[in-house]
C-alpha cells in the first residue's frame, strides 16, 4: 500500500456513489456488494482491510448501517468532503427515485388492480418484517445457557409491544440498559461478514 494516496476528486467520488446507490436494488447485501466492487476492486481507493474494518464499525451505528459505512469510507478517502459527497451521492438519487415511485403509486392507488396487487403485497411486507426479525435475532443469539437471557429480551419486547404495555422507545432504552449491564460478555460479532 502506498503511503500517500491521492484522494479522489469530488466528481469521481460522487459518480462512484451514484452508481452504488442506483444500481443496487433491494438494498442490504446487494448494496454492500456494489460498494466493495466499485471502491475496492474497480478503483482501489479503499483496501480490503479498510473496507472490512469500516464495515465492522458500521454495524454498531444507529439507523442505516450503509450510511455509516459510506461516511466512514468517505472520510478514509477524502476527509470531511469525502463524508458529505459519499453519503449524499449514495442517498439523494436513490431517495428521489423512491419518492417519485411513491408518488406514482399514489396516482394509481385507488385502481381495483392496484388494490388487488396490494392485497398480496401486504402479506409479503409483513412476512419480510417477521423474517428480518428472525435474521436479526440469529447472530446475536448466544449458544449455551446464556441464550435464555437473549430470548427473554426478544420475547419481552414482542409481548410488550403487542399488548401495548409500554411505548416502543421505552422498550429500546430499557433493553439498552439491560444489555449494557447483563449482556456484556461479547461484542457484536461479524459472523455474517460481507466477505463470507
Amino acid at each position: 500500500m502506498p503511503i500517500v494516496k491521492a484522494p479522489p476528486s469530488s466528481r469521481a467520488l460522487a459518480r462512484a456513489w451514484f452508481a452504488i446507490g442506483t444500481q443496487s436494488v433491494g438494498g442490504g447485501s446487494s448494496t454492500l456488494f456494489m460498494i466493495r466492487r466499485v471502491l475496492v476492486e474497480r478503483t482501489g481507493w479503499i483496501t480490503l482491510r479498510e473496507f472490512t474494518e469500516a464495515w465492522a464499525l458500521s454495524q454498531l451505528s444507529p439507523g442505516i448501517h450503509l450510511v455509516a459505512l459510506a461516511g466512514l469510507l468517505g472520510r478514509q478517502m477524502a476527509g470531511l468532503r469525502g463524508v458529505i459527497v459519499s453519503v449524499a451521492g449514495m442517498m439523494v438519487p436513490a431517495a428521489i427515485i423512491t419518492a417519485l415511485a411513491t408518488a406514482l403509486l399514489g396516482e394509481i392507488a385507488q385502481h381495483p388492480l392496484t388494490i388487488a396487487a396490494l392485497a398480496g403485497i401486504g402479506p409479503v411486507a409483513g412476512g419480510m418484517t417477521i423474517g428480518l426479525a428472525l435474521t436479526m435475532a440469529r447472530p446475536v443469539l448466544q449458544r449455551g445457557r446464556y441464550a435464555i437471557l437473549d430470548v427473554a429480551v426478544i420475547v419481552t419486547a414482542f409481548g410488550v409491544l403487542l399488548a401495548g404495555l409500554a411505548q416502543t422507545i421505552v422498550v429500546i432504552f430499557v433493553a439498552a440498559a439491560f444489555g449494557a449491564i447483563l449482556l456484556r460478555r461479547a461484542r457484536p460479532t461479524s459472523s455474517d461478514a460481507p466477505m463470507a
Partner: protein, 169 residues
C-alpha cells in the same frame, strides 16, 4: 412550523434509536399510525423501499412522502442520513469506548429488543392487511425466503403483487 419540526424530529429519532435500516419501523409506526398514515401506507412504503434502488432503510423516504409530500420525504432523508453519521466522529474520538464490553452489551440489548419489536410490528402488518388463507400462505413463504436469504427481496414483492392480482379480487 412546530408541527413541521415535530415531524422531522420523529424521523430523526427513529433513525437515531434503531440499529439497522428497517429497525426504525416499530418507532415510526408508533409515532405515525394512525394520525399521519395507515398500516396500508406502511405496506406501500415497505414495498416501494424494496423495489427502489439504494439501502432498504430508504423506505422511510417513501413513508415521509406519504405523510407530508416532498417535504416529508426530505425530512426522512435528512434524518436517515444524519443519525448514522454520528459514527464518523465516534470512531475517531472514542474508538476504544466503542469496543468496550458494556457498549457491546448495549448494542446487543437493542438489537435483540428490536428483533422482538419488529416481530410484533410484522404481526400487526399481517393482521391489518387481511388474513385469508392465501394471504397467510404468502406470509409463511416470505418468512422462510427472507430468513434463508436466497431469493432477491424485490422479487418477493413482485410475487406478492402477482398472487394478489390473481386471488385478491
Amino acid at each position: 412550523m412546530i408541527e413541521q419540526l415535530q415531524l422531522f424530529f420523529i424521523f430523526l429519532k427513529a433513525s437515531a434509536l434503531a440499529i439497522g435500516g428497517l429497525a426504525s419501523l416499530p418507532l415510526l409506526r408508533a409515532d405515525l399510525v394512525p394520525q399521519y398514515v395507515t398500516d396500508a401506507g406502511i405496506v406501500q412504503a415497505l414495498a416501494v423501499g424494496r423495489l427502489a434502488p439504494g439501502p432498504n432503510g430508504l423506505y422511510v423516504v417513501s413513508l415521509g412522502y406519504l405523510v407530508a409530500g416532498w417535504t416529508g420525504a426530505l425530512y426522512a432523508l435528512v434524518g436517515a442520513s444524519l443519525a448514522p453519521l454520528v459514527m464518523v466522529p465516534a470512531t475517531a474520538l472514542a474508538r476504544r469506548w466503542l469496543m468496550s464490553a458494556w457498549f457491546g452489551g448495549l448494542v446487543r440489548g437493542v438489537s435483540l429488543a428490536t428483533a422482538g419489536l419488529l416481530l410484533a410490528t410484522g404481526v400487526t402488518i399481517v393482521s391489518a392487511g387481511g388474513t385469508q388463507l392465501w394471504q397467510l400462505a404468502l406470509v409463511a413463504a416470505t418468512v422462510v425466503v427472507t430468513a434463508h436469504g436466497k431469493l432477491h427481496p424485490a422479487l418477493m414483492i413482485v410475487v406478492g403483487g402477482v398472487v394478489g392480482l390473481a386471488l385478491g379480487r
